[in-house]
């Protein structure tokens, strides 16, 4: 178990170093940071002085080492555009994104799982066919279109829900703010959460359905039926548990892509999260913010991956180390 965790941690570190290299390359070579920081009329000498003070004339490896060292301490420099420490900027906006991602991930998982199980058990039912056809629309419509449609119906036509912003937020401690505690915050969350989660929901639903149908065909399910276990025990005990093993992995990884995909949803709904921050930083070639965002997304993926592996390990006894001399 410990060896397993250490191995996975090492892998995670390698991944992070690789992403850091990409971020650094971006940081160092995309656009000229000096251009973004000074006006058109700055002299060559001014520029040189700035380059020196930023360390941009040091050897590349030294610069990379410095970048990594800073990154490890959560230090990504100052935003060119907003003239604030990047880390502070991101931390300010992170709660909005995480709240949105968790709510839509939860929604996607719960609804996707229920619909997947339902359509697998009622394979030939009319309702199942309707759901399956509907899910095709879910996977094929682009996120921004879904967002715009939802805004049009629920915000513009029906005027039930707001179409932009986070509503009222409440500060929890020094660095967290939540919209879940206010009425307007919850209302504001509904449309973005649906928009962001819909794609993952249909994905999870189709995955659960396919896995469940597969599991229902296995010998151990036949044997469970032959032993007279109730349909409930078979479907929701034996079959569902075995279905969940692969589903957990994919769903966990989906949470990572939900955070990454949040860029589009945040833009459509004017959601004050890190995705919107990233889009603006791209527009202004605010490289420190872009580099930090990249590292943050990578970190999210790596951490989620680690958690998923541990979960997998907890669910599937076959992965646990065999006790010596047991296989007889």
């Amino acid at each position: 178990m410990i060896a397993f965790i250490i191995r996975r941690l090492l892998q995670s570190i390698i991944v992070m170093v690789a992403v850091a290299a990409v971020s650094f390359t971006l940081f160092r070579f995309v656009g000229d940071p000096v251009n973004s920081m000074v006006g058109q009329e700055a002299s060559i000498a001014d520029r040189q002085a700035l380059r020196d003070s930023l360390g941009l004339n040091d050897p590349i490896l030294l610069q990379f080492a410095r970048f990594m060292g800073n990154a490890a301490q959560g230090e990504f420099g100052i935003s060119y555009r907003l003239q604030m420490p990047v880390t502070e900027l991101i931390l300010q906006r992170l709660p909005a994104t995480i709240e949105l991602a968790l709510v839509s991930g939860f929604l996607a998982f719960v609804v996707g799982l229920s619909l997947g199980v339902y359509t697998a058990l009622r394979r030939r039912g009319v309702m199942s066919n309707i759901i399956m056809t509907g899910s095709l629309i879910g996977v094929s419509l682009p996120t921004f279109l879904i967002g715009v449609l939802l805004i049009w119906v629920f915000a513009v036509e029906l005027r039930w829900l707001p179409s932009n912003g986070r509503g009222e937020v409440v500060a929890l401690g020094d660095w967290w703010s939540t919209g879940l505690l206010t009425h307007s915050g919850r209302l504001a969350l509904i449309l973005p959460a649906i928009t962001l989660g819909l794609y993952q929901m249909t994905l999870i639903m189709r995955l659960v359905r396919a896995e469940m149908l597969e599991v229902l065909r296995t010998d151990y399910i036949k044997f469970a039926r032959a032993r007279g276990l109730s349909a409930r025990a078979i479907n929701f005990g034996h079959a569902l548990k075995n279905t969940l093993v692969p589903v957990i992995t994919i769903t966990g990884l989906q949470l990572g892509s939900i955070i990454a995909f949040a860029i589009i949803t945040e833009t459509v709904f004017n959601w004050p999260g890190v995705g919107a921050l990233f889009i603006n930083s791209v527009r202004f070639v605010d490289v420190p913010v872009m580099a930090a965002y990249l590292m943050m997304i990578a970190l999210v993926f790596v951490v989620i991956n680690l958690i998923v592996d541990l979960l997998y390990y907890a669910v599937d006894p076959r992965l646990r180390v065999d006790r010596a001399g047991k296989a007889h």
């Binding site: 010998d219 044997f223 599937d316 006894p317 076959r318």
Partner: protein
């Protein structure tokens, strides 16, 4: 004679397919007496597994029982509602499948699977179910059952897993156990032990066994009576000794010829030429006629039904029909 425990009459099982309906079983009839071991033999695709599945109500849709009846102690069980069927499955009829590696749910311990099954059928506490489960594992020959019961299936070897499967099939003390090729997937070295455990434990509890196998040697050593299936039809049923020494059906004669242990002289090792017809190409008359070297006129027009030329024996072959046999060409 005592009443049969299980009585199958004119059982028809059909699978609708895009190219017409396949009859996997065509008017199959046989009985199983209380406590006896009935061997069920036949080539691959003859319908042995389908027969077992039909009895326990596990034919996969769209397959269905299209005719005939199955009675357990006189009660019909082929048309039960799911709820009533569950009182039979596991409780009165146990089932052992071919592959112990895939028969057990990998995510549950042996204890969890046994206790769940016991408590489904017998009203008892968790602790009591566990005690029963340990005793049962001990009985089927799992060493240190008390400790091993909390292991997962993948901690056991194939032979040991099949013992667990047998324990699961027997945990509610069924009157009949259907064992569908219980040793085919196992290492040769443990096959006879598994058959022995199955046979002994069933004998002890007075459970009858329907033993499905390809292996005539196993039938000869284990079964009381044998039923021979061919292309979804019953060819011959009778006491093992008699069928082995003096088979009535030309197909059975060929089968018996292929057990080396029972035939000293190698010239009796006849191979039946040809292969069993596919379900969509069963010839008119006797299904065996293309391969039968004794076929005569009626074999190509009329299907022979099971008839009983001697007490306790049945055969479906025109050679044994006194009325038709007169037409048999001599020479």
């Amino acid at each position: 004679m005592a009443d049969p425990l299980l009585s199958v009459r004119d059982l028809v099982v059909e699978f609708p397919t895009r190219r017409g309906t396949l009859r996997a079983l065509d008017r199959v009839s046989f009985d199983i007496m209380p406590g006896e071991v009935l061997g069920m033999v036949g080539e691959s695709g003859a319908g042995k597994s389908i027969t077992g599945a039909a009895i326990i109500g596990l034919i996969e849709p769209p397959g269905r029982i299209a005719g005939g009846e199955i009675r357990l102690k006189g009660e019909r069980i082929d048309n039960l509602r799911p709820y009533a069927l569950r009182k039979i499955r596991g409780k009165r009829i146990g089932m052992v499948f071919q592959d112990p590696l895939t028969s057990l749910n990998p995510l549950y311990t042996v204890a969890q699977q046994l206790i769940e099954t016991i408590r489904t059928h017998i009203d008892c506490s968790e602790a009591e179910a566990r005690k029963r489960a340990v005793a049962l594992l001990d009985r089927v020959g799992i060493p240190a059952a008390e400790r091993r019961i909390d292991d997962y299936p993948h901690h056991f070897s194939g032979g040991m897993r099949q013992r667990v499967v047998i324990a699961l099939a027997l945990c509610a003390e069924p009157e009949l156990v259907i064992a569908d090729e219980p040793t085919t997937a196992l290492d040769v070295s443990v096959q006879s032990q598994i058959i022995e455990v199955l046979k002994d434990i069933c004998a002890e509890r007075g459970a009858a066994v329907m033993l499905i196998t390809h292996d005539m040697g196993v039938i000869a050593e284990t079964a009381d009576r044998v039923a021979v299936l061919y292309a979804g039809r019953m060819a011959e049923v009778g006491p093992v000794r008699e069928v082995i020494t003096e088979a009535l059906h030309p197909y059975t004669q060929g089968l018996m010829g292929s057990i080396p242990t029972l035939t000293q002289e190698s010239d009796r090792l006849v191979q039946i030429p040809g292969s069993m017809p596919r379900l969509n190409a069963i010839p008119q008359g006797c299904a065996f006629n293309p391969r039968c070297d004794r076929a005569f006129a009626p074999c190509f027009t009329d299907r022979p039904d099971l008839l009983s030329p001697e007490a306790g024996r049945q055969v479906a072959c025109w050679l044994h029909d006194p009325a038709k046999a007169q037409e048999v060409p001599h020479g």
